[in-house]
Structures are given as C-alpha cells and as structure tokens.
C-alpha cells in the first residue's frame, strides 16, 4: 500500500468536529467537478490511492475516472462498504427484510422469504456476497486492490461475536475480486485478536491512531503495545484527532510507530493537501533514517 491515502469525508459532509464545517463542505462539494478537482490536487502531490465509501455520488466519480484513463493511469480506489447510513435509514423505514429486498439484486431475496417468514435453511453468507457485489458494481474497470468493511459493520459483527461473517468477507474478497480485504475498526486490539484466531494473519486494518488517544478503544497504551507486538498492516486514520493535535506533532507521533503502513487523511484546500502530504513524507523519511541508524 502507498504511504499516503486520500480520504473522502470532506466530500460527503462527514465532519466529526462541527456541523457548521460539515454544511460548508456540503456546499463546497455540491458539484462532482469539485470532488474531481480535489482528487487531481491530491494526485499532483503524489497521492494515487483514494479510499472512499460506496456513496451514490462515487459512481459518477468512477465514470469520470473510466473516461479519463490517461489522467488516472495509476489511480487506485479502496472501496469501503457499506455506506452505513444508506442501510441504516433503509432499516428504519423498511425493516430488515425490506432492506434486503431493496438492496439485493434480482429475485433472490423474494425467493427466500415467504410471506415475510424466512426458511431456516437459507444461507446468509450468500446474501452478504450479493450485497458486496452490488456495492462493487460502481468500481468496474477500476483498480481496487484493497476492499474494506466499514467500521460500523466490522465493530457490530465483532461485538456480536459473528466472526464467521468477518472471515467470510475476507475470503470472498480474495476469491471474487482477487483483492485483499481490509477492515475499518474503532477497536483494533480486539479485532486483531479475533482475526488471528480465525487464521487471518497480517491483516490490513484501518483505525484511529493519534497522540490524543481519541477513538482508540481500550486506551492508547494498549494500541501502542498491539502495534509493537503484533503482525498487522495498519492504515492510521484520524491522526489529527479532529484537530486536537497540531499537524506536525500528530504526524511525527504516527510516523514513529511500528506497523503503520499508510496514513489516511482528507482535506479540501490545495494548501492543506500539499502541507499534509509534505509533512508525512518528511516525518516518514526521518523515522526511516532513525531506524537505520
């Protein structure tokens, strides 16, 4: 994986810090053109990997990438599925069965429900696979070497002890898409333990890593120890802890930790993208030098 990965929160008004900022982003990225321009800014700074949710609008961004192959020659997307709100809102409105009927293509679900009652023999993992396929449709023809399970789903399955589904996702991504499965989580130590028990070694995990210990469940010390002692490829997200730490200090901290393969960040302005990318390169280099010495 590349050292720097560009995120998509800013495009879809996901802001954990301020509703006002969220609305401003919503206005700023109203047109798809604004998203594409920002992606190109990231590419101009040497960032060739875009990690994004399977939001409806991403489909149109993918269309643009497909129709401009020379500009996006080395461009990779790491899809993160599902776009949780789409499903959460559907469950609220349609219930579980209604949501499945709505999102799973064809008559598959209709055939396994009879008057709303499920047959006991059916295989839910096939439904999971169909949902993955329906989410992956928009990325056809685009390089997607890592495909992620969103944190709400990862952590829900983790808490429910439904480890078979995590393992089935991992296996299916490999089999069907010849890609690696990744997991986004807010519970790195616990997830890693579970994946190891399932024989999934050296997994790709995207998780909050920051000097403030924000969204690091179980505490920062446990995370540091996990990174030191386990075999894992981590993509660090929320490295600035929502602005609680200055960029230089924040990136220095993350770059000096073991097993951090990549750093994920999102930004809207050319200057922010340039500065953050430059900082990550600088701190990664000095961390490498130190380890050599």
């Amino acid at each position: 994986m590349e050292r720097i990965i560009f995120g998509d929160n800013q495009f879809f008004a996901v802001n954990h810090i301020s509703d006002e900022k969220s609305r401003a982003q919503s206005i700023r990225f109203k047109e798809d053109k604004a998203i594409i321009q920002t992606l190109e800014l990231a590419m101009d700074n040497g960032i060739e990997t875009f990690m994004c949710t399977t939001h409806d609008r991403i489909e149109r961004i993918c269309d643009h990438i497909r129709t401009n192959p020379s500009r996006f020659n080395n461009f990779k997307i790491y899809p993160c599925m599902p776009y949780a709100h789409k499903y959460a809102n559907a469950v609220t409105e349609l219930g579980y069965a209604g949501t499945l009927k709505h999102f799973v293509p064809g008559n598959f679900v209709s055939s396994i429900f009879k008057g709303g009652i499920a047959f006991l023999s059916k295989d839910y993992l096939s439904i999971m696979e169909l949902l993955v396929d329906s989410e992956m449709k928009m990325f056809k023809g685009i390089d997607t070497p890592v495909i992620f399970l969103q944190n709400v789903i990862t952590d829900l399955l983790l808490g429910l002890g439904m480890y078979d589904i995590l393992a089935a996702f991992h296996a299916y991504i490999k089999k069907k898409y010849n890609a690696e499965a990744g997991f986004i989580t807010m519970n790195l130590p616990k997830l890693l333990q579970v994946l190891e028990k399932r024989g999934i070694t050296n997994p790709i995990i995207c998780t909050s890593i920051n000097k403030a210990g924000f969204r690091m469940s179980g505490g920062i010390k446990l995370y540091e120890e996990t990174l030191r002692t386990k075999k894992v490829r981590v993509i660090a997200m929320q490295v600035l802890a929502g602005g609680a730490i200055g960029p230089r200090e924040a990136i220095e901290y993350v770059c000096n930790l073991p097993n951090i393969e990549s750093i994920l960040f999102g930004a809207s302005s050319a200057e922010n993208i340039r500065q953050t990318a430059a900082l990550i390169k600088e701190k990664s280099m000095s961390s490498k030098m130190q380890s050599v010495l």
């Binding site: 810090i17 959460a88 469950v91 399955l157 429910l160 002890g161 690091m216 469940s217 929502g242």
Partner: protein
C-alpha cells in the same frame, strides 16, 4: 460478571447487544425477538442463546438485568414483567406511551430497589455533559431563554409503512426525535411544567407527526422554544442542539461542538471572555469498546457499574424518563387546542 438478557433485536437492540457482547463485565445469557429471520441469523452466526418468548428466556437464563429494546407500545407490559421477576432494567426511549405507566414503573423499580435506566444517550455525550457542569456551577448566570432543536432525514418520502408511522405503536417525530431534546431540556435547565402552544406537523407521514414546534416553560421559570423535524434531508444524520442564553453569556452546543460566549472574565476555569470553542474530541472519555459513538458504551457502562455498586442510579432513571413522557403528553394535549 453481570448476566444480561435482551428483548428485541431491532436497530437499537443489536447495537446494545454488540456493546454488551464486548463488555468485560457482562455475560449475555439470552436474546429474544419475535422475528424468525433475526433469531435465525443469531442462531447461525452468534453464540447467544435465542428465544422466541421473552418470559421463557427470563425463566430459563435467570439474568441479573434485562435490556428492553422493543417498539414503545410494549414497554409498559414488558418492563413491569421484568421488574416483577426482580431483574434490573435498561429500557429504550421513549419510556411509555401512557405517562401514567411510566410513573408507576418508576415507583415499582424504586420499591424493589432495582437499577432502572432509559436510553437517552445525549447525557453521556461530552459536549452536553460539559454544558451541564457549567450550568450547575451557574457559569451562565441567570438563564433568560433556550432553544432546543433536532433535525434529521428519517422520513423524507411520502411512503411509510412501519411502526414509526403508527401512532398506536409510539411512532412519530414527537415520540422519537423530540423526546431526546425534551429529555435534554429537562436535564439541563429544569423540568418542563407548561406548554404554551404546540404544533405537530405532518410533512410526509399520513398518520403521525414529522415535526414538532412549541413554546415551553420550565419548573425553574425559564422559557424557551422546541423545534424538531425528522423530515429534513439537509442533515446527513440526526443532529441535536441546544442554545442557552444567560445574563453572563451564551451556549450553543451539539454533539460535536460546544461554543460558549462569556461577557467577562468572570467565567468558569479554563474559559475566557468572548467565544470559546471546545470539541467532543477533548471532552470525551475513552471507552473499552466503541460502536457508533462513545455515548452508547458509556450509558451501558453506567448501567452495569450501578448494578455492581460502583456508581449510583443517578442518570436516566425511570423517574426522569417519566418526566419526559409527561412533557410529551402535555405537548400532545396542547397541540389539540
């Protein structure tokens, strides 16, 4: 270990279940749901014992505590049954359709000395907790006015056909979205004592309200406005906020950000004259397991800690949830005038 059983594996139910499943001091002994499909999934992929009948589950598993996460219309019957069995209860919000039921259940739980809590999670969000701390320390001086708001995209199309669209089952924006804001107002500023005009508006729904607008007076004589709308698609998800004007300053607070203006340097420690901005990031305690927000884990931690004698039953008890139910009833009544 506290033995916990869950009734109702809907959206909130499975969220609670995941947090309970990961909780170091909890042993999930059973789940019950009326949906065959839901039970089927849990039987296949989890290790939780599953039951179609909640009373049988309680009898067989003998839990210490029970989570009740079913549509509101069943709360009164089920919570009473669980209390009669001598179990601690965590119930989802709003508490009861009929506010008299809530009052009786609060009394029953107190008489039986059972821990009782309702899922109004906003009180466990760092920003709102800080508002409570500042108001309790009289940091804003005499309060002049408040506005409690919540907006989100729950019903944004004409078609609705589930329990949320059925007033008999506790559907509607007043019961769902507005109850959160009402509960927060009760907690931060004083219990709602009078409703001085209320409008319940249907925007897309046929049988229930999609928006609630009303003027309120509190037991502390403070007056303010409630404005809630769950048919506002300009919000990505539910956004609850409260604005409080006092003689010494002003608070604008939501789940992410706390903005406080102080007129002078006579203000709480750590703040100064003018605008102060604090984010949830530096007001949030870490939790052992995270799902959708620290507040969901924190409220369960509080419930389990209370059962184990490490904290008191002081936040979101049945009595406070009844006060919220009572305010809901007053708003309904006022809207008919």
């Amino acid at each position: 270990m506290v033995k916990v059983a869950l009734i109702g594996a809907g959206k909130m139910g499975i969220s609670h279940l995941a947090i309970l499943g990961a909780h170091p001091n909890v042993d999930v002994v059973g789940i019950s749901d009326t949906s065959k499909m839901v039970l089927d999934v849990f039987e296949k992929y989890s290790s939780f014992p599953c039951f179609a009948n909640y009373e049988e589950m309680i009898k067989v598993t003998e839990p210490d505590a029970v989570f009740v996460a079913v549509p509101t219309k069943y709360h009164a019957t089920m919570v009473r049954r669980v209390l009669d069995c001598g179990k601690h209860v965590f119930a989802e919000k709003p508490f009861c359709l009929n506010s008299e039921d809530g009052k009786e259940l609060a009394l029953l739980a107190r008489n039986k000395k059972l821990v009782n809590q309702v899922g109004y999670h906003n009180k466990f969000i760092g920003t709102f907790r800080e508002v409570k701390r500042i108001l309790d320390g009289e940091g804003l001086g005499k309060i002049v006015h408040f506005t409690g708001e919540s907006y989100g995209p729950i019903v944004i199309r004409e078609k609705q056909d589930n329990w949320r669209s059925n007033p008999e089952e506790g559907g509607g924006c007043l019961m769902d979205y507005a109850s959160h804001v009402i509960d927060l107002i009760n907690y931060l500023l004083g219990t709602i004592s009078k409703v001085k005009g209320a409008m319940l508006e249907s925007i897309y729904s046929k049988n229930v309200d999609d928006a609630v607008f009303c003027m309120l007076e509190l037991s502390t004589n403070i007056t303010g406005v409630l404005s809630v709308n769950w048919s506002d698609e300009t919000y990505r998800k539910m956004s609850t906020s409260i604005t409080i004007l006092g003689k010494k300053g002003k608070i604008i607070c939501d789940a992410n950000e706390l903005k406080i203006y102080f007129k002078s340097n006579d203000c709480p420690q750590g703040y100064s004259k003018g605008w102060n901005i604090r984010n949830v990031t530096d007001l949030t305690d870490s939790v052992d397991f995270y799902l959708r927000g620290e507040e969901y884990s924190a409220q369960i931690d509080h419930f389990i800690n209370t059962i184990q004698g490490r904290s008191t039953n002081s936040i979101n008890d049945f009595y406070s949830a009844w006060q919220t139910d009572h305010a809901i009833a007053m708003i309904k009544q006022s809207s008919l005038q």
